[in-house]
Symmetry: D2
Subunit: 337 residues, 4 copies
């Protein structure tokens, strides 16, 4: 950690900072520049994070030099983690191809969609039983009934299943039915939920929040990993941008960024990132080329009747087509699924 | 609701949309322009929101004409709501002046701070017992012990108290001690928590999420109000901006915007909005002048020892000074507290 | 164009709007909904844009239904435009692979870099002679001397050259030496410069501004195209985002968006988009996979001595490597260069 | 300047950085921490900015400690600058109250508006003769004829006039007629124009670009000040935000930020910041309370006929009302005009 003092910091202020650093059990290393004094702090930075050094009079800025996430960092674990979701591998060259409707609506519909995505090559089935909806008047999911349908349909088609948990009181229930538990974008900093889900030691799909930096996402992953599991797959799904022509802005550069600072796999969700089916194929191909460890796409066989997020779903035949294209791009970058 | 068709929409597609609208129980009103066909939908728009009309082939855009929030809207309730928090009124010309440390740390410290803010004119005491922290390794609050301290200190100084709930399983407990329950920015779209807190019928302080539009904030307020209470105070506390010189960007225009579309009071939190004590006074004055129904400021008597958010707290004497200035600006715009 | 009236609009206000629309030479088509009145305006929307209908009392919102850019739109020109830059084709399946240093620094250095990128397969050489720099104290380019060096080096290696114009008074001079004129991000809405460059009828490389929506970019392209040329290549180079871990945020979805609404080719510049060499290869591959018509990469043989933007340049050997990878991805999506 | 090395930087890399710093004429001050090595660079940082130290292998990050703008900084000039625009003072407790239509449309209209704003207490008249418009088909201003009208009307009403320059070739012409030259948001980084306008030594109104950080704005001010004038007034006019309910997002915290780092006055333009007349009064009051050195408001006597930006203009009677309110708030914060 580096502490940069204000230009007009007095000697007494500098002394106070040095004393404070030493009181906290660290060494202070003073360096007087032409304009300013800088103090290098030597010791375990982790422990210093709790100390609000920036609040000391005379301090202009505190610059950490270590990542604040530890267990999720590449430094802690140089090899890429491969997450195994009931047989489907994600990471280390294996692509997790997740597809399905936004919400579980009925067993019949779920069956039809599962058959279609399986035929197209998907290796993980998604479907929400608990839906976090912006409006209190919108469809909120089928609850446990939805979980049961998802489980039966997944088993029938040989597809592991992923579904979202939104309430710490339901996490155990969700864990009973799901092979992988999703933590949604709106809950990325619901630390209570993160902790509860982490405790199940089930594979987790952690979606990036709409205003979360890559570092924020890593800190949330750290919450899960700190519960004793490294089976965490991160998901870039678009962040808030100023151009409202798209629902969100896909931050494709987050993929190589995450892979450089973390050992956890990272996939891309072009459905939520764009909200526009006609843009999904190009973004899905971009994700694979950029090195993503998988792609998450919403598929529905009758979008106009979908109970949630219909306008952004691909039709099964559109999904099959983009899967064919992704296969080729994956081969070009030395990956497969 | 208005449905704008694509330029190349076929007659069959137009017919399909019209039929679909009618099947859902609405009237369709066709209008053929020079370039495009537009369909006006007549009926209760609320019910239409669930129907993904944008997913129908040939549809270019769906434009709602009604606000999607109802109970929280100005249309539903033309007079401004005045929220009474154990005697402190917020709204309708009454300013809620909330102050206190980020977290409850100890009874002694809390007592000192409460005495200081009371002397400066604050009418509501804040302090977190459960802290949502970005890092799993940071101080997470004292829990129930913190609630007890807050309650005792509030009572001792005649200040109603507001504290945050972060877990639906603790809402009842928090409601036992608090006069007002805070829903934090990171939980603004934690709909499970919103609902649980709404059920207590306690006054609520709902903070705007970092990537939430004003409309998103209203939708979250609607979740609470839908539980049968209008005692909801909204809080603008800065949103994500591209200029990282500040922690967030204070969206001061949100104040008049909210007051025009909603009857709920809205206050401003310049502490989280800026994250920099030297910018707080100017932003606090701006808030009062812009018509905010209150100002929320973090105050700590030893920021460098604060266990959370120390660098952004004002000292008691700084708080007293800005309170004096706010008094004058409040008088200039015909308000008081 | 659709005019949505306020809920409480009076009959007199509605009449006034209708009359105003008719005075301007258009037909007004009234549609009374359950809550609001909507007026469809029939006629050439283009001409209506100048009339501030939103300013009329009682009007809530004006929704245009046609793109405001005409000559640059896909409707005006359904086939993709192929821009020919002195023999290098961009668009319609042909990729423009632009590379070179940020600034022309010396003939020797330029020669070395040109030889390297040519060997790696680049088909267009870039280099700035006039540099728009954030600081008035930074190197501003060699001016005409830089143009001469660029021309000679391009000719020596059989590479067409692209360079930026920043001053309307120098456009003619730049046009004498360059095969393609770049309009930089900071000048995307310098309409005087756009017009001046358009008049030369030289191929143009128009970079997206940091706060420009895709529609804003199209409007700026329209300025150039309105001067009588369709030889305009658009360039996505990252926009302002809230995560300052990268210099900008690459908006990869802009590529398919532009291709759907415009006939002009669009390329991607991962160098400026990320500002971090280690992220450039992944983003370059993503660009090709997403369907971009080319990729623009800054290359320097000694970044630490570069007079501008050194930290974001690839070394020649890094460029050669990513070119090899792009070749494979391009083949996977049926393109070549 | 502080250079933070990567955790895995080799001794050879550290040595190379040190040597490079010394070659450039500076002292390097090494500090080996628990995890990383940090190098403090001692000497005139200004000169170092051109050297791309971040490009050296092994370097993780370069942290400047001095502001990159010098002449515009508070350090260079501790007292606030008061800009005198033909008798109207801006800064140091004096408020510049600028009003007028977006564009000069006709002498009669200009006269009517000038009379109204003068009566309301404005002390500076604005009106554009050259308009930078997003669409090439929109009204681009009356040119020199507009300048003449503005001059005559300003003289008739005893109001100094401010108008925008958009083309370096017209700067001299604009300087002949104007008392203050505006540099618009879209041209904030048109460095050629900044320099040309700076050379006239006329008072300048420099508007913040839509994606410009406060530091970017200061760097652009430095371009003007470097031409030998400190008569530069900065203008916060809203930046790009993700909530498109408003045209832009007013960054009210920019006001105290600028006043702390610079001696130049800063005013606020709530018209462009919001684009919605009903939000302008609240934002104007906020600006005065926040300590702005003036307020810029667009006023038009018939917004529905305005040739540019009509929907965001206040009517003269609305302007008079908000001026009355601002007078009271200004008095509350000890200012006047």
């Amino acid at each position: 950690m580096i502490i940069i003092l204000r230009e007009n910091a007095t000697e007494a202020q500098v002394d106070h900072v040095v004393k404070r650093v030493e009181t906290l059990g660290f060494q202070a290393h003073l360096s007087k520049g032409t304009y300013r004094t800088v103090i290098g702090v030597i010791g375990d930075e982790e422990k210093l994070l709790a100390a609000p050094l920036a609040a000391i009079p005379g301090v202009a800025k505190v610059v950490p030099v270590m990542p604040a996430f530890k267990l999720a960092s590449r430094e802690a674990h140089p090899q890429p983690t491969v997450v195994d979701v009931a047989g489907t591998k994600i990471g280390g060259g294996h692509l997790g191809m997740i597809a399905g409707p936004c919400a579980v609506e009925s067993e019949e519909r779920m069956n039809d969609i599962a058959a279609a995505i399986k035929a197209a090559g998907a290796n993980l089935l998604r479907g929400g039983a608990y839906k976090p909806r912006t409006s209190p008047y919108a469809f909120q999911g089928l609850g446990e009934e939805g979980l049961k349908i998802l489980r039966r349909v997944g088993d029938a088609h040989g597809l592991p299943v992923v579904t979202e948990a939104v309430d710490p009181r339901h996490v155990e229930l969700v864990a009973e039915y799901a092979d992988m538990i999703q933590l949604g974008a709106r809950n990325m900093q619901n630390f209570v939920l993160l902790t509860e889900v982490g405790k199940t030691h089930k594979p987790v799909l952690l979606k990036r929040g709409m205003a979360a930096t890559v570092k924020d996402l890593m800190m949330s992953a750290e919450y899960v990993v700190a519960q004793g599991t490294t089976d965490v797959v991160l998901c870039e799904r678009g962040v808030k941008g100023f151009d409202n022509a798209c629902r969100n802005m896909l931050d494709i550069a987050a993929v190589p960024q995450i892979q450089q600072i973390s050992h956890l796999p990272v996939i891309v969700d072009p459905s939520h990132a764009t909200g526009r089916p006609e843009l999904i194929p190009a973004c899905a191909l971009a994700a694979v080329a950029a090195g993503a460890d998988g792609v998450h796409i919403e598929v529905h066989n009758c979008p106009e009747e979908a109970m949630s997020d219909g306008p952004q779903a691909l039709l099964p035949e559109q999904y099959a087509e983009v899967m064919g294209q992704m296969k080729k791009v994956a081969a070009a970058v030395g990956k497969t699924w």
